[in-house]
Symmetry: C2
Amino acid sequence: MSQLLRGHNITVSRDGYAAGEGQSLERPFGHADPGTMFAWAFGTASWPNRTEPGGSRGLEDYLTREFHRNIGAEIMGRHKFGPQRGPWTDHEWQGWWGDEPPFHTPVLVLTHHPRPSFTLSDTTFHFVDADPQTALELAREAADGKDVRLGGGATTIRAFLDADLVDTLHVAVVPVELGAGTRLWTSPDELADRYHVDVVPRPDGVVHHLFWRR
Amino acid sequence: MSQLLRGHNITVSRDGYAAGEGQSLERPFGHADPGTMFAWAFGTASWPNRTEPGGSRGLEDYLTREFHRNIGAEIMGRHKFGPQRGPWTDHEWQGWWGDEPPFHTPVLVLTHHPRPSFTLSDTTFHFVDADPQTALELAREAADGKDVRLGGGATTIRAFLDADLVDTLHVAVVPVELGAGTRLWTSPDELADRYHVDVVPRPDGVVHHLFWRR
């Protein structure tokens, strides 16, 4: 089987925004509240950032569990790494993900301003100025036969969707309106011509959308 | 983390039967039609018995995909191996699972009539006369640190539930009435005192029940 490009746990507001306006060091999601956006995921046993045992093993846990399954590399946009714009002024700051990043694989950070790679625990961040096709080739090589995770944010996912490179995608639409920010879509219908979709509404108002290529 | 005992893709009729009456070599599910019972699973990309590429990657695929994830051994009842009752009269017949069984791990077959172990491809069948607790200890040892799958049938699952050994269980309740056969339960409520349950109804009338220990 070929190496798939897979997006997991991508969470957007009902009006299609994956992050709010005004990203900063203190507010990676801008005016959006990550606690509200990711409430569906934080309580699951398999949430990648979970530090304590326990957690639910219901349907949402089947979804968060996919984050690590057969993944050999991640591609992320620069704004998932940090809030900086333009040339890097500080190489000491090593991103939002702490000393034990939840990735445990090579991570390709897409940026027009490359900087030296570095390793935190078992995650190595590489900084790459490349179009989606080239970035995917690099990530597949780094993934050593496994699949590649498309980590986000919305702008990055949109670029890979537009280049028709995404094989499967899980988007959780949460019952929040953001009004502005970084948009994934106006409507999930935008993907209907190229993808099958399974729409799974949940009692808490979250609607999971599971896409796979036609 | 400890080695969990997990049941996956256990499929029962609305009236609680996992198999019909009259099991035979030709009809492993007796009067129940496996094509109808497992219709929810057969079309998924990850169904373990799938021999062709393709298949859906919607919610049901997340469920069937769990069959192999971090599993190091399976425990099954004798009637999931074959239709025979009493002492074995034919060691040539090697079970319902063909030359390439979908397990790819050691499999412990519970029987009051042990017979020699044998290997088909990368699956080894061991025949064990043991109570659930002892069988689980043997399976954990065979699983080499991974989890153990509780494969069924219903009588075997019931025995492990009654011994309070099951950690997680996925049961698909399908819109079929069997009226008689091998029963898993009268109602899923029987497990409510010991398990959390997430109930996920689907457009085709199947209702997935995801249980995990309280």
